[in-house]
């Protein structure tokens, strides 16, 4: 009994050292913007929400400059009345300049901070990240707005799946390169997703505009949905809703330098401007779509090869099929790889609403 009392006393008296983070005594950072300010220094923008008594939300940003990423937060903390904490970060926006210089160091701090969740979204900004965070987008606060913007587009399969978890997985996997969505500020209270940035290692090398995102997703993502427009001839056109799609890499056994990307799409015709929609017309639409997808995707693949980036993870695929795979050799040969795209479209019942 005596020892029990002693343990209880120890428990109660010596446990005061745990640091508390009462939610109304901290400033929860919801979004982080990182920019290159000059050659040596970085600029960090930290967005927090101020919750007003009338339940409205106002945005507040803290900006600081420092050569090291950790120092950014410490310096920004000097401006804040209550400590800035990183546990709520859900969106990280990286400035265009910094993206071109390399984001390796940034990923490193995100890996080290245990309070940041793996569902944190990353994006590249057109212009500076600071500008994007300082806009006024919606009544729910900028942080939540940006998060919902990216989250809803990923859930509706309009953007390929990206978050800290996938990003780190792709980044550290040999034979695969990363890609991040791009944010573009239209005006101070409007923002849009303007495309996807392709990376070679940690540096941005190419941009895919939002118009080609659908074809990009066919190549990198496993499941896909979306509408696409198929002109049949001058007068007639059809809109097809993609129900599901998948891609497969097929390795030619005879020629190791040849790989086929086989894309399978299941779709339904949503709208058709012609008069009759019979079996013949459906077949025609199907063929047109196949041709279109093949053409667009091949273009994308060629541009990947030109920029020497591999967002599809072909290197990783090759490695899984070949014993004694040599990355250096692969990197040399990647540009000369013969990649074919084959598309197969199945149109389920036409005109289902």
């Amino acid at each position: 009994m005596k020892s029990l009392m002693m343990y209880l006393c120890i428990l109660c008296l010596l446990s005061g050292c745990v640091e508390t983070n009462t939610i109304d005594d901290i400033n929860i950072i919801l979004a982080v913007g990182l920019d290159q300010s000059d050659r040596k220094q970085m600029m960090g923008t930290f967005l927090t929400d101020n919750f007003m008594p009338d339940k409205s939300i106002t945005n507040k940003t803290y900006t600081s400059k420092a050569p090291l990423r950790r120092d950014l937060l410490i310096k920004a903390n000097h401006q804040a009345a209550q400590p800035l904490v990183t546990g709520g970060v859900s969106v990280t926006v990286i400035g265009e300049k910094l993206g071109k210089q390399g984001i390796d160091d940034i990923l490193d701090i995100y890996q080290g901070d245990v309070t940041i969740g793996a569902r944190n979204f990353f994006a590249i900004s057109e212009g500076t990240a600071k500008k994007i965070l300082q806009g006024q987008y919606g009544p729910e606060g900028n942080g939540t707005y940006l998060y919902n913007l990216l989250d809803s587009k990923i859930k509706s399969k309009e953007l390929p799946e990206t978050n800290l978890h996938f990003l780190l997985r792709d980044y550290y996997q040999k034979g695969k390169d990363i890609y991040l969505p791009r944010l573009k500020q239209i005006s101070t209270n409007q923002i849009e997703i303007s495309g996807v940035s392709l990376f070679k290692k940690d540096k941005e090398v190419d941009v895919i505009p939002s118009g080609k995102l659908f074809y990009f997703r066919l190549l990198v993502d496993k499941h896909n949905k979306g509408f696409f427009f198929v002109p049949k001839n001058k007068k007639e056109a059809a809109s097809i809703k993609g129900l599901s799609s998948k891609h497969e890499f097929i390795l030619s056994k005879k020629k190791p330098s040849e790989v086929t990307v086989q894309i399978t799409i299941k779709g339904a015709i949503q709208e058709y401007t012609g008069k009759n929609l019979g079996v013949k017309q459906v077949k025609e639409i199907q063929k047109n779509l196949e041709k279109k997808v093949e053409k667009e995707c091949l273009q994308l693949v060629k541009s990947f090869q030109k920029n020497d980036t591999d967002p599809m993870g072909l290197g990783a695929f090759y490695k899984s099929r070949n014993r004694g795979f040599d990355y250096e050799k692969w990197a040399e040969n990647y540009k000369n790889l013969n990649i074919k795209v084959v598309c197969r479209v199945t149109i389920e019942e036409p005109l289902i609403i």
């Binding site: 428990l11 109660c12 446990s15 745990v18 508390t20 983070n21 009462t22 939610i23 109304d24 901290i26 929860i28 919801l30 929400d49 919750f51 007003m52 008594p53 339940k55 939300i57 904490v85 546990g87 709520g88 859900s90 309070t115 969740g117 729910e140 606060g141 942080g143 939540t144 998060y147």
Partner: protein
């Protein structure tokens, strides 16, 4: 009185006995009256305690037959007395005991050794009333009363078989409380009965006023906040558990009958469950388990999350939580403890006050204090909702004693939530779980059927499967006959023309 207050020469050497009798004679209600039967020329005396006997019986049955009857010696009284409990005794040590329990002592001048004891108890029995604690909409509406005779009658009527055995004895040095152990021969494990009998006989206590005394005395672990014996006021429940192979203990003067051995899930099953369809009953049971978990954990979780783990709050909830706590000057733990204590105060005040005042207290407390403290900025309204919900959820436990335990359990959880956050809560859950695993009721595992895992007992625990699935008696009872009925025969549904 030339020969002492009763004719007993044998007791002369026994001084203690004499003192005792003198003590009895000191009481105001001690009466000794002498009469004379003219027919047979006999002097006789009646001694009794006026507070205990029914004067009508003395007047109408005893005196009338003694004065007018053919009465020569003590042995004649059995012939002439129209009463069922008439004893002829020659053992003087029994006299006081019987006098104290409402007997009339008959002595005759001429006969010194023998005397008569005639029962003339004044029975004050409350009429049967519907159950007040374990209320049910469906099912029988009778509840036990304070008289053990009535209670045993209620149970016997539900189980009119010769196998139902009622053992009776008295405990309590002063209260002389009558206790009955009930079991069904051929079903109940003999070892369990022996344990109960042994524990009851070993009770050394002067005044046993209620069955709850016995619960506390004979529990396996009296230092546990969890009740290990179930008390019920429903005869149907007692009959049902006797048929399952449990043991019931009736205590005179207590409208609650004890059931043992029990498991934790028994405390969360209302007996009304058995009167409902198994799907609905299962739903209610799951709901109750959820309510209990919710009631214990919700305020500690609030404290832990708001003090340590802001990371796990979803973004959409963040603004609601922060705005509600904006003007609250206290840390979450103080806020939570204040509110919890307020609710406890309300409950306690409501329970102690007369019924009519008690109701107003609930309204005053709930509405006025709650709203006022939120408006004054002393507590956040979210916590107010949570605490009120937790209080509501704790009322869903069908057994009153268990709901008290749940009330209490919340406070250590709160303390540890403040000390270590979620880790503290996990720590507390571990302690409670370890305690429950170690706990036994009459030597049988209290956490059955989860630990040890028993598939058969699971069928009537969190879920309640249909009747034909429940063909076995609970395994943890180790009954002598594990089958309630043949499952094969029961599943055949014959039409009338077959």
């Amino acid at each position: 009185m030339k020969k002492g207050w009763f004719q007993n020469k044998n007791g002369q050497g026994d001084t203690e006995q004499k003192n005792a009798t003198q003590t009895l004679a000191k009481s105001k209600d001690f009466t000794k009256t002498c009469y004379y039967n003219q027919k047979t020329n006999i002097d006789f005396c009646l001694t009794y305690l006026t507070t205990l006997v029914d004067e009508k019986i003395i007047e109408q049955s005893i005196l009338s037959s003694l004065l007018a009857g053919d009465f020569h010696s003590i042995n004649d009284i059995k012939k002439i007395m129209p009463l069922y409990d008439v004893q002829i005794c020659n053992d003087p040590s029994k006299i006081e005991e019987n006098l104290c329990s409402g007997y009339v002592l008959l002595t005759i001048e001429t006969e010194e050794k023998n005397y008569g004891l005639i029962a003339a108890k004044k029975e004050i029995v409350r009429a049967l009333s519907p159950p007040e604690v374990e209320i049910s909409v469906v099912g029988p509406k009778e509840a036990f009363v304070e008289s053990i005779a009535t209670n045993l009658n209620l149970i016997r009527r539900k189980l009119p078989v010769k196998e139902l055995v009622i053992e009776e004895f008295t405990i309590g040095r002063l209260s002389k409380t009558k206790i009955a152990i009930l079991h069904i021969e051929g079903i109940t494990n003999q070892e369990n009965i022996n344990t109960v009998r042994q524990r009851l006989k070993d009770i050394e206590f002067d005044d046993i006023s209620d069955s709850s005394y016995i619960v506390q005395i004979i529990s396996d672990n009296s230092n546990s906040p969890f009740p290990q014996l179930l008390d019920t006021e429903r005869p149907d429940r007692v009959a049902a558990v006797l048929a399952e192979g449990m043991i019931a203990i009736c205590v005179d003067g207590s409208p609650q009958v004890l059931i043992t051995p029990t498991t934790l899930v028994n405390f969360f099953s209302s007996f009304e469950d058995y009167y409902l369809n198994w799907i609905i009953a299962s739903f209610f049971r799951l709901l109750r388990m959820f309510a209990v978990t919710f009631s214990i954990l919700i305020t500690p979780l609030y404290v832990a999350v708001l003090t340590y783990h802001y990371e796990i709050i979803p973004h959409d909830l963040l603004s609601t939580l922060i705005t509600s706590r904006r003007i609250v000057p206290f840390p979450p733990i103080l806020e939570a403890i204040t509110l919890e204590l307020t609710i406890e105060l309300l409950r306690e005040a409501g329970a102690r006050l007369p019924t009519k005042v008690g109701q107003t207290i609930g309204i005053v407390g709930g509405i006025v204090i709650g709203t006022a403290s939120v408006e004054a900025g002393l507590t956040s309204n979210i916590l107010l909702i949570l605490v009120a919900l937790a209080a509501l959820a704790s009322f869903t436990t069908p057994v009153y004693k268990m709901s008290n335990t749940i009330r209490l359990l919340r406070f250590p959880f709160l303390l540890f939530a403040q000390l270590w956050g979620l880790v503290g809560i996990v720590f507390c859950v571990c302690i409670v779980l370890t305690h429950l695993i170690r706990l036994t009721s009459l030597g049988r595992p209290f956490l059955d059927p989860f630990y040890p895992p028993r598939w058969q007992d699971l069928k009537d625990s969190l879920l309640m499967l249909p009747f034909k699935e429940r063909s076995m008696r609970p395994q943890f009872l180790r009954t002598e006959n594990p089958y309630r009925f043949s499952k094969k025969k029961a599943s055949v549904k014959k039409d009338i023309d077959e």
